[in-house]
Every structure is written in C-alpha cells, then in structure tokens.
C-alpha cells in the first residue's frame, strides 16, 4: 500500500500505517500517532488512570477535523 497523501502530491512512498478513521494509507511522514489515556473504574468508586495507553494513528485531515484545526 502506498501513502495516499504523498500520492496526491505526486510522490510515491510506502505506507507504514492506516488512519483509524478514514482508512487512508500513510507513510511515516504523514502518520500522526497519539497515545490516549485510559480510565478505569467509576461510580461508586473513583476512576483511576490506567498505566497502559491506547495508541491511535490518524491522517492529517482527520487529525485536523478532530481537533477543529
């Protein structure tokens, strides 16, 4: 699979990740990887931040849409 963003720019590069929202193939340059905090527990117990975090990969378009940029 090739990077969709690079292809639109007339370049060709191998994809190393896929956007979790739109499924776009992404090269290392265009993949935006985040680590999301996880919380466990809740009423009637205090919620606690879990040690493990969930990784998430987004393309630049979905990242900007998600954060209103």
């Amino acid at each position: 699979m090739k990077c969709y963003v690079c292809a639109r720019e007339g370049r060709s590069s191998d994809a190393v990740a896929i956007c979790i929202v739109c499924g776009m193939g992404l090269c290392r340059e265009h993949a935006i990887r985040e680590e999301l905090e996880m919380w466990e527990g809740g009423y009637p117990f205090p919620a606690k931040r879990a040690k493990a975090k969930i990784p998430r990969t987004l393309c630049p378009e979905c990242y900007n849409a998600l954060y209103g940029k």
Binding site: G41, G42, Y43, P44, F45, P46, A47
Partner: protein, 251 residues
C-alpha cells in the same frame, strides 16, 4: 494536595449539596405549611399542602440532586455522599479501610456545611420552623419502628447501588438516574414514618446546626439514623453478593 484529600473534598461538596437541596426542600415545605391546619396528628406540616404529593416533591428534590452529584462527582470520589454506603462497600472489601474514616468525616462535615448554607440562605425560620429539614420519627412511630423503616429504605438504596453500579454486568450510564429516583421513591413512601434519611450524614448536618442555631434538640433520635441505614446498607451489600455472585464477587 493528595488524591485522597481531593476525593474527600468531592465527598464534602456532594453531601453539602444533598443536604442543602434535599433537607432544604423539607424545611421549605414546613415553612410554607406553617400555620395551616394539619387535620391529623400524624401530619406535622409536610402533607398539609398536597398530601403525599408533599413527600413526592421532597423526594424529587433529593432525586435530582443525588443524580446531579453522582454524574458530576462519581468519577472523582465515587460520590457515596452517605457513610452507610461507604461502610457497606468497606464491609464487602470493595473500599480500602484506610480511606473509609476520611470519607465519613468529609461526609459529616459536608452535611453540616449544607445545613449552615441553607440556614444562611433561608433565614432563622428555616431553623425554628423548618428544623433545617431534620429527620425524626413521626407521632405514633416508636424507636424500633423508625430503625426498621430506615433499615428497609437503605437496604433498597444499597441493593440498587449494587445492581446498577457496582456489578460490572450493569448497563453503564443509568446509575445516577436510577439511584436518585430510588431515594425519591423511598422518601415518598416512608418519609412520614421516620423522615426517610437513609443517610447518617444527611441527618447529622441539620441536627448539628439546629443545636448551634437554637433549633430543636433532636440528638436523642440520632442512633436511629446511624443504626438503621448502616444495618440496611451492609445487609444489602452482602445479600447482593450472595444472590448475584455465583461464588465470586459481582464486581
């Protein structure tokens, strides 16, 4: 500030809101009904305006503020806002012993703060006429009957907490609404028996501020609101584990 201190503040604020709005609704009802004919010695004023509808209104005030506090602070401290609930969770090994005392102190201080703020808001008639919404057995209700009514009411409350919140199989998101409405229903039915406190902190606040501000001295009744709620909550927690646990804890 430590994590426990922040959670205790959340318990304090939650219990203060419970007493301000819930017990406050009872005090306001008495203030509105003051001077109207009660018609029966079993009616001390709550019921003079709309019969059982008076209790439904008070119950709804409790229901709404309990739901609000659970949704607002449930993730912070667990929003027990009730020493009987904290003790029941501790007794079934779900809540650490080292934090139980701190939670209870925070809840009692919160109850007193709620009553103080209500007196400051509504004036001295809230104390002398409304008794700050303090709970007592009603005329003709004995000490044992009052303990029984409080124990049964709190049994139902804790059973619902176990079923809709503690049990991991429960559908998420309903706890605040269902638990609030459960308390509202208990108050509507058993309010005119012993006040339907179901919560030692909810009774402690009005009792303390009534004492300090020249209201009625009701401390002789306080054991009712310690024994009944704690007994009902602890029995409910163990009962739920027994019927729902399948040999292991439900949560």
């Amino acid at each position: 500030m430590s994590d426990l201190a922040k959670r205790c503040i959340a318990e304090l604020v939650g219990t203060a809101l419970l007493v301000y709005f819930g017990a406050g609704a009872a005090a306001v009802t008495l203030m509105i009904a003051h001077g109207t004919g009660s018609g029966t010695p079993f009616n001390i004023g709550i019921g003079a305006l709309g019969g059982l509808g008076d209790w439904l209104a008070i119950g709804m005030a409790f229901a709404i503020v309990i739901a609000a506090v659970i949704y607002a602070l449930g993730r912070v401290s667990g929003a027990h806002i009730n020493p009987a609930v904290t003790i029941a969770l501790w007794a079934t090994k779900r809540f650490p012993a080292g934090e139980t005392g701190a939670y209870i102190i925070a809840q009692l201080v919160g109850g007193a703060l709620g009553s103080l703020l209500f007196a400051a808001s509504a004036g001295m008639e809230a104390v002398t006429i409304g008794g700050l919404g303090a709970t007592t057995p009603f005329p003709g209700i004995g000490y044992g009957q009052a303990v029984l009514a409080e124990a049964i009411g709190t049994f139902v409350l804790m059973l619902v907490i176990m079923g809709v919140a503690v049990d991991k199989r429960a559908p998420p998101g309903f706890a605040g609404l269902v638990i609030g409405l459960t308390v509202g229903g208990m108050i509507t039915t058993t309010g005119n028996i012993a006040g339907a406190s179901l919560n030692p902190a909810r009774t402690f606040g009005p009792y303390l501020l009534d004492s300090l501000l020249g209201g009625p001295d009701l401390w002789a009744y306080f054991p009712i609101y310690i024994i009944g709620p704690i007994l009902g909550a602890v029995v409910a927690a163990f009962f739920y584990d027994y019927i729902a646990g399948e040999g292991s804890k439900a949560a």
